[in-house]
């Protein structure tokens, strides 16, 4: 199949596929007229890449998964290198989530404090109903 069909099957664009190829992630065979040619294996590789991208993995982080598939393993995460990426990503996510949670608490506290200081803001009926 050609680049347009592969892009459509994976829900992405031709530009994206050419970009992946430029990064050495998804090289393509060429037919006589110079068009890129892909097969079903490429569909699986691309699906693996897209899944990880949707998870927020960087392109380079998908490389071990792609190479794992390409070397004949049944799944992209059948190789130790892929598992390492999983583990590092989990650590990153945990760190990021706890950092964001801390910010969330601080901003929430600021909001509560500021609302209490603003006249006629937060909870007027407490005094009005007295």
């Amino acid at each position: 199949m050609r680049i347009g069909e592969l892009a459509e099957r994976a829900g992405t664009t031709t530009r994206t596929l050419r970009y992946y190829e430029s990064r050495g992630l998804l090289p393509a065979r060429r037919s006589g007229n110079g068009y890129r040619t892909y097969d079903e294996d490429d569909v699986r590789l691309l699906e693996q890449i897209r899944t990880l991208q949707d998870f927020g993995f960087e392109l380079e982080e998908t490389r071990p998964f792609v190479e794992c598939l390409r070397s004949g393993h049944p799944a992209g995460d059948s190789c130790p290198a892929s598992l390492d990426v999983y583990r590092r990503k989990l650590a990153e996510l945990d760190a990021l989530i706890s950092e964001l949670s801390a910010v969330r608490e601080q901003v929430g506290a600021q909001l509560v404090r500021a609302e209490a200081a603003v006249p006629g803001g937060p909870d007027p009926q407490c005094e009005l109903t007295g």
Copy 2:
């Protein structure tokens, strides 16, 4: 005071201050020789901006706080517009955190599943001690 001193006092760089000025966020008076001149009020404005930036607010989101301070209010979040930014940020943070948590769960599940499928990976002594 001049730009270098203000930058140092706020723990940032002159480049950053010029950038803020270019965005209309922190305009500066000029002395006779063309040097930027700042006062203590500017220190407070800059501290407000830096605090919010450290929280992950975009520059534009700090503008209401700066304008609030500049219009004479005691704090940058003494104005309704600032509170709105707080609230929107909280919503953003909550959405982002829950999204990241969902990803974390999915990646964690994938890791567990993949580890179980890899030979000699996860918990060898269960069989070895039998």
